[in-house]
Subunit: 314 residues, 2 copies
């Protein structure tokens, strides 16, 4: 029978689980509200229940494994969440082993932004490359770096903190201790903060600023031009450092592309001779909120393939 894997997306407010074929087709999908407050045991129990249901519907024999995208830093060797602002109760909890023990299949944990980058490479905007960087614009700014088809983890799983790249050495202060972090100048939160600076009201949101800009409000458009410049500084740095063929943007502010992209490209062209010399692409990601789910599902296929290589070499 055809093989498949199961991807789990633990991000945000929902727990989403999908069975995906080796060709990237969704065979089954379940979405329930995530009850993070009830603790990791409960979440693990929910995951196991859903996967068991899906397995009984699709079949046991074809399952290659389960990939789980988590909003936090992962110790890849131990399969443990070592840091997460969104999942405080998961700190140090052996997520991988707890699920593996019950299900008896390969379980791979991955940071959600990294999983999203993998997903875009597998069946999204990066299908034609093996090296790409995905930048996720949200409350903060996250990043996933894929080198030669594999996630760049760094020695403690903390690589890809693109949101905390300094774009303006004396820019807005950030909770991380730095000033001028990209996410303080280009995230949805930063857009809303600039909206308040522009006297759009204390409860203005990034969406609200976008609506005003869509109506031609010049001050709102200025905010997106400012956001684009900050993104351009960061992207030029990444292009000069990595010389990758593809950089993708995703997240809530993406519909404002036409508002922020002109200044973004202007900065990139000015600040990166690598960009102007070759065919580097900066594009919209295409999988949206499903990228992490697809990427999570891709993880078991990749891990098995690793083992096959190792077995062949040894």
């Amino acid at each position: 029978m055809a093989t498949y894997s199961i991807g789990v997306d633990l991000g945000g407010t929902n727990l989403r689980v999908a069975a995906v074929s080796e060709q990237g087709l969704i065979l089954d999908k379940v979405c329930i509200p995530a009850v993070f407050k009830a603790g990791p045991e409960r979440v693990v129990s929910d995951i196991v229940t859903i996967i068991t249901t899906i397995r009984s519907r699709i079949g046991l024999s074809g399952l290659r494994g389960v990939g789980i995208g988590v909003p936090g830093f992962i110790d890849m060797n131990k399969g443990v969440v070592v840091g997460s602002a969104n999942l405080p109760g998961f700190q140090g909890f052996p997520v991988r082993d707890a699920i593996q023990k019950i299900l008896g299949t390969t379980i791979v944990l991955e940071n959600d932004a990294n999983a999203a980058a993998l997903g875009e490479m597998w069946i999204g905007a990066g299908r034609d490359v093996k090296d790409l960087i995905l930048i996720t614009l949200g409350t903060g700014i996250g990043g996933g770096i894929v080198v030669g088809g594999r996630v760049l983890h760094g020695f403690l799983g903390m690589a890809g903190e693109i949101g905390h790249m300094t774009v303006y050495a004396d820019g807005n202060p950030c909770g991380c201790g730095n000033c001028g972090c990209l996410e303080k100048h280009a995230s949805a939160t930063a857009i809303a903060a600039m909206g308040r600076m522009m006297h759009f009201g204390d409860d203005i949101t990034a969406e609200g600023v976008y609506e005003l800009a869509s109506e031609g409000n010049e001050r709102a458009l200025l905010i997106f031009r400012s956001m684009g410049r900050a993104l351009g500084v960061a992207l030029a740095n990444l292009i000069n450092i990595f010389n990758f063929p593809l950089y993708l943007l995703t997240g809530g502010p993406l519909p404002a592309w036409d508002m922020f992209a002109p200044t973004m490209f202007e900065e990139v062209r000015t600040r990166s001779f690598t960009f102007t010399r070759n065919g580097t692409r900066i594009e919209k990601a295409v999988l949206g909120g499903d990228a992490g789910l697809y990427g999570a599902a891709y993880l078991p296929f990749q891990t098995i393939s690793n083992r096959e290589v190792a077995a062949a070499v040894l």
Copy 2:
């Protein structure tokens, strides 16, 4: 018999060639003035003559190949220099194939900063890691990025342009078209330029500024503190992006370490929570001007090992 490889360093004013054992011991070494002005054919002929001499002294059978470090961008597939400010005549010249045809052994071309990073990993300050970034402080600032023991090339061999990372969005203008490039604030050239700003004379050099600082000249010390801050901004960015265990500095200004390192570390601590959370190291490289020569010699060992893996898998 024991195997060895030959490293060639085409950088600067000299052409240096060394036979190196698999354990990293220099078995033979030749250094002659490089005659780049006479064109690539002449340089290739010099390289071939020296290698032939070395082979006749050490023995033909043990040679694994020749690695050549070149100050320019390399098309790794074609073995061609595609861009070099220092070797204008080499543009598009098939260096690899020209030498390979005569010597009949594996020839690997590599950018000199990348080769230096590999050398430090092989037998220098990075012997205990497989992921590191080397920053070379000179007339400009170059960089070599090693991921999993291999050089990060990017899709056109232009990765590692760390000298053109923006550290101050409105900083000093750079010939590349950008403002605030790291190398305009922290290279030997930048140190000399700041010396002129401090009225140390029109012909002040980086060494001259260093001597003044060594004598306690407060304005000269200020220059190194400024240089350290720029380096700190760049290093914090790299640490947030890569989460590598080791970042190395090398080049002429290294003796001024005690003058620039305090502000450098201060910036890194402020700007990178990744740095403060774990045991990331920023250290002096130890091989100095020989790093590129060792790294070039390491290339054939690495290439052969690649092929062995491929042969075993296929």
